[in-house]
């Protein structure tokens, strides 16, 4: 812990204008930050939502539909965090149920049939920890989703826009190009959860956030993401329109980049990308 602390303070003194990991956690969770509905409105044209997993439910924590972007007809999928309490009550704070992940797979399978690229927006505290979620197979739904997206025969562009909360985030974050907004965070466990377990004190979240390396610059270094999307000064919440424009530009560039690639090569490269994660041996 001493080392983690020392590092934190080094960084603070060396680059005072640079936010700490916990500063970014707060920015990533800011209610005024652009959420899925902002990206749908400002990045795409003609969004048409499609509901349901064809099994039991239409999960509101994860939303999908068709839209167009610069000449591409794409499937948009994303965790549906809201801005107000009412919105968040309706969308479960962006925490998806198994039905949400199964809906995502159903729609992505359809996108694959017509070679529509998929663009996903990742912003969730995690998969919903509920009784029905477990009974309907939260673990199985996430596992299937990982296996499914790894082999999907159409381009997948992922944007981590806010909180990338563990398995619930990863389930729609397997793709060919993973972009991450400058102040988003992406982690195996929340800093509070990690602090509660390894520090036995949830208030040590800032230390845990630092130790876990969850910021975009750190994840770029680790090879977990491919590109950082810059945010307006002070964070995306200061100017949502500008933040959305930057995302639009980055997504469009990624789509153009992937469009010409033969599907076999696309899928091989996606596998190779995953396969290289943490190969230190």
């Amino acid at each position: 812990m001493a080392t983690a602390r020392a590092k934190t303070s080094d960084r603070k003194t060396a680059r005072p204008s640079n936010p700490t990991a916990m500063d970014r956690v707060k920015l990533a969770r800011d209610a005024k930050r652009p959420h899925l509905k902002d990206f749908i409105a400002n990045v795409f044209d003609d969004f048409e939502e499609l509901h349901g997993d064809r099994l039991v439910n239409d999960d509101r924590g994860l939303v999908g539909g068709f839209a167009s972007l610069g000449g591409f007809n794409v499937l948009v999928l994303g965790h549906n965090k809201g801005e107000t309490v009412e919105e968040n009550m309706a969308s479960n704070f962006g925490m998806a149920n198994p039905d949400g992940y199964r809906k995502a797979m159903r729609l992505a399978k359809l996108a694959e049939r017509f070679r529509n690229p998929v663009v996903t927006f990742v912003d969730t505290p995690g998969a919903y920890p509920g009784r029905e979620a477990e009974e309907r197979g939260q673990a199985e739904a996430i596992a299937k989703s990982l296996e499914f997206f790894a082999a999907l025969r159409t381009p997948v562009v992922v944007v981590v826009t806010g909180e990338g909360g563990s398995g619930g985030a990863l389930a729609i974050a397997v793709g060919d190009r993973v972009l991450m907004m400058e102040n988003a965070v992406y982690s195996v466990i929340s800093p509070e959860g990690c602090a509660g377990i390894l520090w036995r004190d949830g208030s040590k979240a800032p230390e845990a956030a630092e130790a876990l390396k969850i910021t975009a610059p750190d994840l770029l270094k680790l090879g977990a993401i491919d590109e950082i999307v810059p945010e307006p000064a002070g964070g995306a919440q200061k100017n949502r329109k500008a933040a959305c424009s930057a995302v639009k530009k980055a997504v469009l560039a990624a789509l153009k980049d992937l469009a010409g690639m033969p599907v076999d090569e696309l899928v091989e490269r996606r596998y190779a990308r995953l396969r290289a994660m943490g190969d230190f041996y």
């Binding site: 477990e134 673990a139 990982l146 790894a150 398995g167 990690c194 377990i197 390894l198 943490g278 041996y281």
Partner: protein
């Protein structure tokens, strides 16, 4: 992180544990020799207790056929991770010294009642069976070797989930292993997943739940989120059998609950059924 909660619970067992065994499910006490003689199965409630990877391999692989591979793949401290209780490196090194294993899964080739197989067995005693980069790499390589040598894949899971000390790259092992499992299936090979007590978090939410058939043992704990996390979220008490093997079977996520004494024969029967 269920492995940690369990560790706390285990610490409550009195110091007489050298002589006495306590069933963690029904809390009945018995002489340790009775527990061991019964194959770490509770004579009272039939809970199938945890085995080390080596004990499990001895029960599943035909004698003398198990050949371990990828032992050179071990843990990685790429984050130089320190927390309040010390540094990750010393914790893992202590675990290595204690268990004799250098990762949470042991993989190798073997025969199961004469059927060639690629076998992976997780060891809960190694950092709570957590999924680190070494674990993920061993499993991915095992999948690729299974494909290269046309061997059916059998994995015994026992894990509290992803290993947070290895940060985001431990999370990425969920995707890496699931992608590799997908390739095993695409190559026309079967994957038998055995979810043993406990299989939770990032391991249940990746390869463990991807079996062409998912098997478990009586009373095993299987789930995604921890019981306490769920109770705190929904503000309700959960039923006693929540996330048990029996509960999972009832809800359709487990093909069969198989007694330990019948496991090897059952797996061999499945492999024979698929003509492997």
């Amino acid at each position: 992180m269920a492995w940690f909660e369990k560790k706390e619970a285990m610490a409550k067992i009195p110091p007489t544990k050298a002589l006495w065994a306590v069933c963690p499910k029904c809390m009945s006490h018995m002489e340790k020799s009775v527990w061991k003689a019964n194959g770490c199965i509770c004579p009272k409630c039939n809970y199938h207790g945890r085995l080390s990877a080596r004990e499990r391999i001895a029960q599943i692989a035909d004698a003398g056929t198990f050949a371990e591979v990828f032992r050179e793949v071990s843990y990685s401290d790429h984050l130089d991770f320190h927390d309040a209780t010390g540094d990750y490196k010393s914790k893992v090194e202590a675990t290595i010294a204690k268990t004799g294993e250098n990762e949470s899964v042991v993989v190798g080739t073997c025969e199961i009642s004469g059927h060639r197989a690629m076998l992976g067995v997780m060891d809960f005693a190694f950092m709570g069976g957590s999924l680190g980069t070494g674990t993920g790499e061993r499993i991915a390589r095992a999948c690729e070797q299974a494909i290269a040598e046309r061997r059916p894949l059998v994995i015994f899971s026992a894990s509290g989930g992803a290993r947070m000390h290895e940060g985001i790259l431990s999370l990425m092992q969920m995707a890496k292993t699931s992608a590799a499992i997908g390739r095993v299936k695409a190559a026309g090979l079967p994957f038998v997943s055995v979810l043993t007590d406990p299989t939770t978090g990032g391991v249940s939410a990746s390869y463990a739940m991807l079996g062409d058939i998912n098997i478990t043992e009586p009373r095993a704990l299987i789930g995604f989120a921890g019981r306490r996390v769920i109770e705190n979220t929904i503000h309700q008490k959960l039923p006693a059998d929540f996330q048990s093997a029996e509960y999972l079977e009832k809800h359709g996520f487990i093909d069969r609950i198989v007694e330990r004494k019948d496991l090897k024969a059952f797996i061999a029967k499945m492999l024979a059924f698929w003509n492997f």
